[in-house]
């Protein structure tokens, strides 16, 4: 079966050696930001440039015990596979966020609803040049 070119659901989600299951949401961000410059009599920016990027990720899971067991400040590689919508061979995308530092983990649950926890991660670049966010076909 050919890849559907559609992604749906996540698998293989982990932070270092900690496998994260019951995943309902994963976000990866390139973390781009823009700096603008204006001077003298300028009313509008005359330069808009991307000077810095800070890739981030978040993961939400119903396995609250696993996520809440991860301490803020923990550093490891965070990876997740975005599955092909029909599980076609060659259609999965693997994201890897190197040097992913846990910023926070929080949990919530409403009456009559499944509980969930969300972990947010910031990453750093070991050399200041190479993006810690990479991707490939799984």
């Amino acid at each position: 079966m050919a890849a559907t070119k559609l992604q749906s659901n996540w698998s293989g989600v982990s932070h270092g050696t900690t496998a994260i299951t019951r995943v309902t949401q994963v976000n990866f961000s390139q973390g781009g930001s823009l700096a603008t410059f204006s001077g003298d009599g300028d009313i509008y920016p005359t330069v808009v440039v991307n000077l810095k990027n800070q890739p981030t990720a978040t993961v939400t899971s119903a396995d609250t015990a696993t996520l809440m067991g991860i301490a803020p400040g923990s550093t490891a590689t965070f990876s997740a596979t975005h599955k092909d919508a029909k599980a076609a061979t060659g259609g999965d995308i693997l994201y890897v966020l190197a040097n992913a530092v846990v910023e926070n983990v929080q949990t919530t649950g409403g009456h009559g609803q499944f509980g969930s926890a969300t972990m947010s991660l910031l990453s750093f670049s070991s050399d200041g040049t190479t993006s810690p966010l990479s991707f490939t076909r799984a």
Binding site: V96, A98, S126, D127, G128, S134, T136, R137
Partner: protein
């Protein structure tokens, strides 16, 4: 003349082809994985990272970095010797054994 395969690649981002993300990834992997001699049957992959200036930095290890890490005695120096490949891409050869960042 380097006879061994490169350890890293810098490919123009303009080489991406396709309309979907998986198509674009595949178009780069189709070039990069044979050059890096990635063997998918052994679980190996080529990992793509965006780089400023319209380049893609591709290696077989997602923890590879272009330069030595900032805490290394060779900080800010390149870990690779870059060779122009003649097709607008660059092939990188580790100047010494990798020291994972």
């Amino acid at each position: 003349m380097d006879r061994r395969p490169p350890d890293a690649l810098l490919l123009p981002e303009a080489w991406k082809r396709g309309e979907t993300q998986i198509e674009r990834i595949d178009s780069i992997l189709a070039i990069a994985e044979p050059l890096l001699q990635v063997d998918r049957s052994k679980g190996q992959r080529a990992y793509i990272r965006r780089r400023e200036g319209g380049w893609l930095f591709v290696t077989a290890d997602p923890l590879d970095t272009e330069n030595y890490p900032c805490w290394h005695s060779k900080a800010e120096q390149p870990r690779y010797r870059w060779v122009l490949a003649g097709d607008s891409s660059k092939h990188g050869f580790l100047v010494e054994e990798p020291n994972h960042a």
